[in-house]
Symmetry: C3
Subunit: 362 residues, 3 copies
């Protein structure tokens, strides 16, 4: 038996504070740009089936009970009690919480107390820049405040995260933009912007990334749907040796390319959480693929969960089961020793994250 | 046991009417731009081995008997009787037949009577345009006749299919070309064209796609060998919400990207047939990969067969065996309930196709 | 049981002649652009674990013993005796040796005698061109000597290999450069070059590839990290029918695309060695994926090993075990006949390489 007593969820979000109807709950199971197609439901996905497998027992129901029955029980317990039972049943001991999503989500402190676990904050760069823009009167003050905010955030947080690669692929360029270019872009963006307006300017996104790289804090990058080999290889090469670690999020279905990059560049790491949550019954198969190329010291567990504590549960349960099955099979076949397998399991579940994020006391 | 009593083959072609020698038969097993390499044969492929596994018993022979023995028996029975035994042994209950391939292939009616099944027509857009060009004297009459033909075809057919993405990737653009651009392209194409000449002009292909989108009939798109994420993502985004469903054909080896798109866009569906026929003994593994990301209401069985009824047989047998094995394993592991597995099997085998193509009476 | 009595390693390199410390040995297990990340080691990879599984028993130790223990035993035996035990334990009967790597590596003759096997040379085009440049005084003599050297090398070697696709992707173009273009590029390169300087000029790389194509000798192409569908498809189409075979090396993680191309083009072959060495405990799964699309007459075993005889051992052992497991399973399931499985195993292990490289007497 492969054991993982500690589990550091190295990238997740908070959970919703309000009671949920069937439709809102279902919407959080989809990954799409719209509602389910007519005649279909997001419950009919690997994520939906995995939620129905793992979560009902934590609320006292049979696995695979109908969604309406599960939601009724969830409301009966209340969102707080249901959340407590789910998060505490997940086995996650430390949450690293990306606080950059909109919506009424619990923060790190509340997640920690509800889940009886540790929690630390991950700061999303784009949201930080938008907040700075909301309170800065001029281009000069915006740029000065931006640099100060990033460096200030680096003290309290364990990592930065960025969606620059998703908003504008060209932001992942080989070098920072020049000062004049940055000033011009800032002027145009601030002039055309309403309070709360989203940062999608490639030059400013690039500027922001390179400020973050200079901070030395690990930087988590959302890779979007593109092959990270193409979209990310040059940025990885340009940032090698600068002392800042990069963590590739959400590689699936390009998880093998992400694993390859983690093998090529000393400062690049691969996340595996959401690949498992999205593929459910296939989690062991997908995990095995990631374990082909990634050095075992370069892989980090996460749930990638947002909004529903059910997704934290599913991320953790699928990971533990998949890891036990994959490594257990290799031990049984004689390909790995049991000692090595247990050591590697501990690295992926918690040890690598502790080392990369400096979670000394956790 | 997972059962699939009905089987709608949502994309296939007719079968050859003539007796076949070993060489012609072998040529239909290849997917290449040329003959087999010296010293090799297309029988030594997963498709070749799958045909030798599943088809000889339907003609009274042992599985895996030598190709020459099989072909001799086939000729002994005659092409009609062999076709009848094979198609009726496939278990396919409805064929949706793309009639746009050249060659002396049976149409939907003949396929239905030979196979004791239902059949409906899928109209290939490019062939339709080429036929309109053969009979139109001027640019004006060509463009008017084209629009009329597409809308006319939409009444009798269950779907359109297009190879625009294979002939000219840029045809899958975000918006229809302007009227002047279309007139210019039509003039140039008609002026340089012989009767029967192939349509490969990107502007006209694009024009044709957007006429078809306007018809509201489901549109099947051959994706070619490129990653559909790159080649097809923009077209999917541009056609979202217009009320026309898109079905991605032949995603393999990019089947995971196709499944991902089916999860992202409500109007996008993924076909799985030819991925199984091409991979034979690996069909269950490939099917399992497709089932990672695609919502279960967005996947459609097909054989993709053309020319040889053996390919309809192999497509259906591999699908049924693979589906039973994959879903059966998940039920045995407790990841899925048996009820859910049976329901999902019915959706992929027939239910989704009935809903998308409106096959009410079949 | 699937047997492979002969094993032709169709692409490998020589081994180091000097005693190795732990750090140097470890460096040869990585594939990266730098050292292992702080706190990690390249022993914690599939390749590292596979070496620890297969090699200690050949030196009289327990599988999975600690790296330091293994290295101590290796030094105790001496590099010559350890190399002899390892290579002779690999089961490889013929080595095709790419002699184009820098460093003090054994050549084909020494590899053959150490391993009690046959060996033949593969000539690396870029090194040949660099050597010609070192001894040619003028552009005219360089170009004449280059053509002569390639044609001369074609007599003694069994194949050419090229890293043009890795050094400059655009070198894999559809046609040779014109004479004026070549003369200009040669003049610029020679003028700016020191003795031993590397050839990375796209025009000269392209010129070199097309000279090699004209020689008729099989040409092995390093595909780099890009999807070969994109980077290599046009070159394959342009060289079809010219009578020269192309062998795609190192397709992983794009091995399915490489297998696809081997199915599409009669003159294109796929190599599978390094995919297995890099993925270790997953070798059977990766081999099975390659066997989906590649015609069985188009796949060639190799170890891709360089520097450490341990990598030749691991390449051969993983291949034999993976092949036995994958084909054995298909036979047990009834998907393949045992006769076919044994025949295909013989083709991939040795028969295809003998045919492609004309290894008549081996």
């Amino acid at each position: 038996m492969i054991e993982t007593p500690s589990l550091v969820d190295q990238h997740c979000h908070g959970v919703l504070r309000t009671e949920l109807g069937l439709g809102t709950f279902e919407a959080h199971l989809g990954r799409g740009e719209g509602p389910p197609a007519p005649g279909t439901t997001f419950f009919d996905t690997q994520t939906g089936f995995a939620v129905r497998r793992w979560c009902p027992p934590l609320l006292g129901l049979e696995p695979h009970c109908p969604p309406a029955r599960y939601l009724a029980r969830r409301r009966e317990l209340g969102v707080l009690e249901a959340g407590r039972r789910l998060l505490r049943g997940s086995g996650i001991t430390t949450y690293l919480v990306d606080t950059g999503l909109p919506g009424d989500l619990t923060g790190p402190g509340e997640l920690a107390s509800t889940g009886a676990a540790q929690a630390r904050e991950i700061v999303r760069l784009e949201l930080l820049a938008e907040q700075v823009a909301d309170t800065s009167g001029t281009v000069d003050s915006f740029l000065a405040n931006l640099a100060e905010s990033v460096h200030g955030a680096a003290h309290g947080a364990v990592a930065f995260t960025s969606v620059a690669g998703v908003r504008a692929g060209e932001a992942l360029a080989c070098e920072p933009p020049g000062p004049g270019e940055v000033r011009g872009a800032a002027g145009r963006w601030l002039a055309g912007r309403q309070v709360g307006g989203e940062l999608a300017d490639p030059v400013l996104l690039r500027h922001l990334l390179w400020i973050a790289v200079a901070s030395g804090l690990p930087l988590q990058l959302h890779t979007g749907a593109a092959d990270p080999q193409c979209s990310f290889g040059d940025f990885a090469r340009a940032t090698a040796g600068l002392g800042t670690d990069l963590v590739l999020l959400h590689g699936y279905p390009h998880h093998r390319a992400a694993a390859h990059l983690a093998g090529v560049f000393p400062h690049v790491y691969a996340d595996l959480g959401s690949a498992l949550v999205r593929t459910g019954a296939r989690a062991a198969a997908v995990l095995a693929e990631i374990l082909e190329l990634a050095p075992f010291g370069k892989l980090l567990f996460s749930s990638g969960a947002q909004g529903l504590p059910e997704l934290h549960v599913v991320g953790a349960q699928l990971f533990r089961e998949a890891l036990g099955r994959v490594l257990g099979t290799w031990v049984a076949e004689g390909a790995w020793s049991l000692t090595d397998a247990q050591r590697v399991a501990g690295l992926i579940a918690a040890g690598n994250a502790r080392r990369v994020y400096g979670l000394v006391g956790d």
